[in-house]
């Protein structure tokens, strides 16, 4: 995504304010502070708050948007709860380590949050910010400068078909779905409940929300859908290779700048044992994606910070955004059955990650046998 010039980031379109019957009467200082009567721009900016909606939007947005403001703290975009919970579960439980790990995460991970303003008014700060449209209050955030500005390397490249040789998602090419078609405002804004990950969110999208009759007698390819129902996730048959990230390490360079470095980003497609099996997600086999966590993630700061590393798999439940009706693995029964390459086997997992992934690795005996077609 192209960055805005510094002055473009803060240029306010007068029409954006004058024509807005809902927000047009609010003065700049009411939300941002500062002194609008001071002609010296340096002193006028004393006390100015760039994003008054973060971390607490109640005094600004919350004056009218009460429900969204009340639930803000439970929006995963705002609180990054899954990051803290997943890393917290892996952290060494002894002494001060969990608190210190949280501190390291603040340096490296918590910059990637969002807020009311960083979706509806400006680009997120984590991608250098800048007003979206002259400070217009946009009810639906623009996809390319907000959603995929952050969710770029995996979601955007998958969905838009930017990974070489991998076609875009059928929902984009056939129906030109935008993010909000599946991901509702309610899902984004939180609902007051403390979720451990995005798959728990009650109003998150499900394929069946639209494909209601896919398991019915009259559905296309009904027999195959019926046979595989609750056994494999939709992505197992309908997703194509996706990006996997390995071994993130964080640190500070000689100038004191915080950085992260991952070891690699190979494209792969792997079916593993469902690590989030529940009534809501009963499938045994799901697509799994490697995430960039590593035992040495925080070794710059301290040894053995993630002593409980094996508590969670490094190959995690995944719903890649590159869905196709026809994929290499659903071409025929035996494109998948008996095809060990598709499954996450012990040999596919780095030795140092075997303990963490013991519950998602598929044993060779569990690979569905070839069938006579």
């Amino acid at each position: 995504m192209e960055q805005l010039a510094p002055h473009e980031k803060v240029y306010v379109d007068p029409q954006a304010i004058l024509e807005d019957e809902n927000h047009g009467d609010i003065t700049c200082a009411e939300c941002h502070g500062g002194n609008p009567a001071d002609p010296d721009w340096v002193t006028a900016h004393d006390g100015v708050v760039k994003d008054p909606s973060f971390p607490d939007p109640s005094e600004v947005c919350g004056q009218c948007h009460e429900e969204e403001s009340e639930n803000f703290g439970t929006s995963l975009h705002a609180n990054l709860a899954p990051y803290y919970k997943m890393i917290g579960a892996r952290a060494n439980p002894d002494g001060k380590v969990p608190a210190e790990v949280k501190g390291h995460m603040k340096n490296h991970c918590s910059a990637c949050h969002s807020s009311c303003g960083q979706c509806h008014i400006s680009r997120p700060t984590s991608v250098e910010g800048g007003l979206l449209d002259g400070h217009r209050f946009l009810k639906t955030p623009p996809q390319d400068t907000t959603c995929t500005a952050c969710h770029g390397s995996r979601i955007q490249k998958e969905y838009y078909g930017k990974n070489p040789g991998i076609p875009p998602d059928v929902h984009r090419t056939k129906a030109y779905f935008r993010c909000e078609k599946c991901h509702s405002a309610e899902e984004m804004h939180g609902d007051g409940k403390d979720y451990a990950n995005r798959y728990e969110v009650e109003n998150g999208p499900k394929c069946l929300d639209c494909h209601k009759d896919i398991y019915g007698d009259k559905a296309e390819n009904a027999e195959q859908h019926e046979i595989h129902q609750d056994l494999v996730s939709c992505q197992v048959c309908h997703s194509t290779p996706y990006k996997n990230c390995y071994s993130c390490h964080v640190g500070k360079d000689e100038r004191g700048s915080y950085y992260f470095k991952a070891a690699g980003h190979p494209m792969d497609f792997k079916i593993g044992i469902n690590p989030l099996q529940s009534d809501k997600r009963p499938e045994t086999y799901v697509t799994v994606r490697h995430i960039p966590v590593d035992q040495g993630l925080f070794s710059f700061y301290e040894r053995n910070a993630l002593a409980n590393f094996d508590a969670l798999p490094t190959w995690k439940f995944a719903t890649p955004h590159n869905i196709r009706r026809k994929t290499p693995q659903n071409e025929s029964c035996n494109a998948c059955h008996g095809n060990a390459d598709l499954f996450l086997l012990e040999k596919d997992v780095k030795p140092e990650y075997l303990g963490a992934n013991k519950n998602v690795i598929v044993s060779p005996d569990s690979i569905p046998e070839k069938i006579e077609e």
Partner: protein, 74 residues
Amino acid sequence: MRIIRCPLWMALAAALCLVLFYGDRTACAEEVNYCFLCHTNPAKLVPAVREAVRAEKSYQNDLPGEKVEAEGEG
């Protein structure tokens, strides 16, 4: 026709109220809002932003920088 007479002090009080409240309102409405004036005018905004960027850069040269991660990796 009945003539309503009001004492001089009432007329003076009414005049004073007009000056105080109406006059004050006019002053508020005419008060310059420099945020709006500058941020909506590229001719004023560009030089100010350039100055701010220069100041920021010299500040960053003096001190260890903040985080430099920029691209969304999600």
